[in-house]
Structure formats: C-alpha cells, structure tokens
C-alpha cells in the first residue's frame, strides 16, 4: 500500500476556455487533516467532484489506497471507503434521522438487493447506524424527521451518514458552513478525534477552524495549487497573502 491514502495526480479539467483544474496534485496521508482553501471560483468544487466521482478529469488520475479510481463511479468510490459530506446537506429530508443513517449502512453492507426483511428491524444495520449517531451525539434524535433538524444537527447527521461507511478517508465540503461559533467549536473538536480513524480532506471557508484543525493546508487559486504546507508556512507565504488572505482582508 502506498503511504498516502488519497493521491490526486496532475489533474486537468477545462470548461471551454476556463481551466478549472490546471494540473492539480495533492495527497492525503494517514492521520492528517489536509485543508483545501482558496477564494471563490478557484475550482474547489470541480476538484471535489473529480475526487468523489461525478466529474471525469480531462487528464491526470485520482488514486485511493493505491488504486486508480479515476474511472470509477461515485457509488464505487463510496464502496471503497471514501466518505463524503456536502456543503449543502444532502440528506433524505423526509426520512427520520435513523432512516438516513440506516441508508448509509445499507450502502456500506451492500444489502441493497434484499427485498423481504424489514430494514428497520435488521440488527446489523441498526447497530451500525446507531453507533454512528451516538458518535456525533444525535442518539436522542432518532425518530425526528430530518427536515425538522436544525442546521447544525443536519451537519452532524451528514457526518454520521459518512461514518456508517467506515470510511478510509473523509471528503468534507465546508462542514462548518452555517454553524454558529458554538457549533463550529464542537465540530472542530469532533473532527480532531476523527482524523486518527481516517484522514480528512477538508474544504472550508472558516479560517479559524482551518488554522485550528489542519495539519497541512493547500491553497487553490485559479485551478492551481500555489502553496502546500503547515499552518505557519501558509500564514507566512507571501504569494498566499496576496492571492487569498489579501483578498479576505480587503473584503
């Protein structure tokens, strides 16, 4: 096995004249939180889609656990253990909280084509689902309809669904978005405990959270990674300051 969990190797993706990914390479190593930051329109979403599936790079490869997954579908990547959370909560809003995590457990266990046994009475599925809920602290919300959850609780549920996959790596798209200071702090603490289980590629706008959490940071600007390094490296990088932090200051 390679020493990195996830390898993005020289990925290119253009939409007409726009180079959304212009030769991006990055790695995710065991036990780390690797934050991907960059101003709006830098090509973060495009990169995430190429890693998670749903968008094919024009050139380059995505490797997961040493295996080339560039040609694999979103579902296959999830089966391999790539757990994903979304910027805008992607949950079955009409389901109860428990049903949402059971859905994750069904996907993980490959029991989709079981037609007769009731899913909500299946011990194995329920155990896995409840375990994930407990870890994010949503156990007391099992029977709540998902659409009735608060914004922060939906975030927690997203993470719980990803946890049911027993992922080998997490891909988290702005998990802090819309959380208050309190919620942000709680989630930060939780992610720190999570990274020893599986490394996290974290796309995040909340700079405080990024600087508090990340082991490494990559800065994406106009489809290129202009710097990768520790929090201090990035804080002191002149290029990053002008391209990114400068812009933040101005705003």
């Amino acid at each position: 096995m390679a020493d990195s969990i996830l390898d993005v190797v020289d990925v290119h993706k253009s939409f007409g004249a726009l180079k959304a990914s212009d030769g991006i390479s990055l790695t995710l190593k065991p036990g780390e939180i690797h934050a991907l930051i960059g101003p709006n329109g830098a090509g973060k979403s495009t990169l995430i889609k190429q890693i998670a599936g749903g968008l094919q790079p024009d050139e380059g490869a995505v490797k997961f656990l040493g295996q080339d997954i560039t040609g694999k579908t979103t579902a296959q990547r999830a089966q391999l253990g790539l757990g994903r959370t979304f910027q805008i909560s992607a949950l079955a809003m009409g389901f109860t909280v428990l049903e949402n995590v059971v859905l994750g457990a069904i996907g993980q266990s490959g029991s989709v084509f079981r037609f007769f046994s009731p899913a909500m009475k299946d011990r194995a599925l329920l155990d896995r689902a409840r375990n994930a809920l407990e870890r994010v602290g949503l156990s007391d919300r099992e029977t709540t309809i998902t659409s009735e959850l608060s914004h922060g609780q939906r975030r927690q549920l997203e993470v719980a669904v990803a946890l049911t996959l027993a992922p080998k790596a997490f891909l988290m798209d702005e998990p802090m978005a819309g959380l208050g200071a309190e919620g942000s702090r709680e989630l930060t603490g939780f992610l720190r405990t999570l990274k020893s289980e599986a490394p996290i590629l974290l796309v995040e706008h909340d700079m405080d959270a990024v600087f508090a959490l990340a082991d490494r940071i990559s800065v994406l600007v106009y489809g290129k990674i202009i710097a990768t390094g520790s929090v201090d490296d990035i804080r002191n990088n002149a290029e990053v300051k002008t391209a990114y932090l400068g812009e933040e200051d101005a705003a």
């Binding site: 998670a52 599936g53 749903g54 579908t73 979103t74 579902a75 296959q76 999830a78 089966q79 994903r84 979304f86 992607a90 949950l91 079955a92 809003m93 009409g94 389901f95 109860t96 049903e99 949402n100 059971v102 859905l103 994750g104 069904i106 996907g107 993980q108 490959g110 029991s111 989709v112 084509f113 079981r114 037609f115 007769f116 046994s117 009731p118 899913a119 909500m120 299946d122 599925l125 029977t143 669904v161 049911t164 996959l165």
Partner: protein, 328 residues
C-alpha cells in the same frame, strides 16, 4: 384523521363486502365492476412502486399492461384454435391455463420493462417522462400495424381461461382469484417497501446524490424497481384481458398510461392502498358520471385538475396521517 392502517382495513373490508352483497342481491354487474376495480388497482400498485416509491414518473406503463394483455390473448387464441405458437426451433403451444398465462405475462412484461427501463433510466426528469411515453406509443403502433393478432381490431377470446378448482366463468369466483392476487401483491410490495431495497429506493428518490455517496448503484436499483413495477402491471394486463375476454391496441394507448397514473394521484402517491381507492373512485365516476353525461371526461378532467392543484396527497392522504414510511 385516522391511522393509515385502519383506513387500509376499511378499504379491504369494502372489497369483501361490496361483492358479497352484490352476490346476495344477485347483481353480477356490480361484481364485474368490482373485479375491474381490483385489476386496475393492481396495475396501479405496479406503477406506484416506480412512481411513488421510486419517483420514476413512467408515462408508458400501458406498455406492460398491454403486453400482459396480449400475452393472454396470444396464448389463449392459439389454444382455442388448436394451432401452435411456434414450431421451430422448438414447439410452443398455446394454453388456457391461467397460472401458466400469468407466469408468462409476468416474465414477458418484466423483460420488456428491463429493455425499456435500461434505455429510459439513462435519462431523468422530463426526458424520462417523454421517453417512457414514446416507447409505450411505439408498442401501440406496433400492435396496430402487426396483422397477425387482429391488428387494430384486437383479438377476442371466446371462453375465459381456466384455473384449477375454480369455475372462472362465475363472476364471484373470478373476482376471488383477482382479489387474492391483489392481496398477495400488496403483501409483497409492502414487504418490499420496508426492505433495505425499498428504503434505498425511497432514499434515492429523495436525494440521489446521497444514495450514490453511500455506495448505492442508483441506476441498477431503479432498473430493478422498474422491472418489478412493469411485471406487476403486466400481470394486471393479463387479468384485465381475461375479464373482458378481449385484447386490443387500446390497452397500449397512452390514455391507458394516463389512467393508471390517475388512479395513483386520486388515491394518493406512494400510499400502498392509494391505487385501490383511486381505481374504485375512477370506476364509480365512470359508471355514474358516464351515465349522466356523454362527456364525462370533462368532469374527470376537472376533478383531476382540482386534486393536482389543491389536494395533493389524494384521498388516502386526505383521510390519514402519514405513518413512518419504513417503520413497523
């Protein structure tokens, strides 16, 4: 408001009491109407699995209804004329045994649904609606222009097919058969909805991205649901043909697809018993409004429009609270 399962029990009771009463007062026509309700409801239960649970708005379920009907018509016409269906590479003879016809109808309509579904599910949204409609219409035109089995005029079967131990010509006995099938299918579909498969199907309907990112192959999931859905509607088609002892291209017509959809919307989308209520209401309207006015479709259209615009949830939805979809 009452709980959905009590409402369902009332509906089932109605399906027992009405024909029983009709039998007592010797009203065979009412039994025939009830049989029609049960069969059309079965077609609706099939579509509801794809449309309600899976969110796959198929506007071409007449294809399966029709192919089920023609399966019966073709097998029975060969049996009644004592001609084999084909002789090479091996001999296939017609039959007038209902169980055999049902089995063949289920298999043939499942295969058709597999073919149409595999193509149609490459698309989504409004494309899916138009593509399924178009494929349904293709079979309609094929049935019209293929002269071997009656073409536009259709095909008459003079004697109802047979079921061991049942006199299928007695209306109440044929009703009993159809009702039993409906009950069995309802039971199976209920189990299916609660199974991991049903949960995944519903989950993918609510949020496709979510289903994909937990590793579910949504295309295959939907294709299987579509095939089961088509098979159930195909079985209903075979029964419907036996009820009328007649099949014609009208079974393939897109109005038939629309009708099956109307049962679901009148009764309540994704409600297990919705299609039964919808089909019953439809037949009642047809019977009474059709008796009042030659132009009863105007009233049907107005009612449908009202339900869609103002009464989402249909009758079952209006009378009962939604229970936990996969609980219990």
């Amino acid at each position: 408001m009452i709980r959905e399962r009590y409402l369902n029990l009332i509906i089932l009771a109605g399906l027992v009491i009405v024909p029983a009463y009709a039998l007592m007062v010797d009203e065979p026509f009412t039994i025939t109407l009830a049989t029609k309700v049960v069969i059309l409801a079965l077609a609706g239960v099939g579509l509801n699995l794809a449309l309600g649970q899976g969110g796959l708005v198929s506007f071409g379920h007449a294809a399966y209804f029709g192919i089920g009907g023609y399966t019966m018509g073709i097998l029975a016409s060969h049996a009644q004329n004592y001609t084999p269906l084909m002789t090479s590479p091996f001999l296939i003879e017609g039959t007038n045994s209902m169980p055999v016809i049902w089995l063949v109808a289920v298999v043939v309509s499942a295969l058709l649904a597999l073919l149409i579904g595999a193509l149609s599910l490459r698309t989504s949204g409004v494309y899916f609606i138009m593509v399924t409609l178009a494929f349904g219409q293709m079979l309609y035109y094929f049935a019209i222009s293929w002269p071997a089995y009656g073409g536009e005029d259709g095909l008459s079967i003079y004697v109802r097919n047979q079921f061991p131990g049942v006199n299928t010509l007695v209306p109440i006995q044929f009703y009993g058969l159809c009702f039993a099938i409906l009950l069995i299918v309802l039971f199976l579909v209920d189990r299916l909805n609660k199974s991991p498969f049903g949960l995944a199907l519903d989950g993918a309907h609510q949020n496709e991205e979510r289903a994909l990112t937990v590793g579910i192959n949504v295309y295959r999931l939907r294709l299987v649901a579509f095939v089961i859905s088509g098979a159930i509607t195909g079985l209903a088609g075979a029964l419907f043909a036996d009820l009328n002892r007649f099949v014609s291209p009208v079974m393939f017509d897109w109005h038939t697809s629309g009708q099956i959809m109307i049962f679901i919307i009148l009764g309540g989308v994704a409600r297990l018993f919705g299609p039964i209520v919808g089909a019953a209401l439809y037949i009642l309207l047809e019977h009474f409004l059709g008796g009042l006015s030659e132009y009863w479709f105007i009233y049907l259209g107005a009612i449908l429009l009202f339900v869609v615009l103002f009464a989402k949830g249909g009758i079952v939805g209006g009378l009962s609270k939604k229970e936990m979809s996969h609980g219990g």
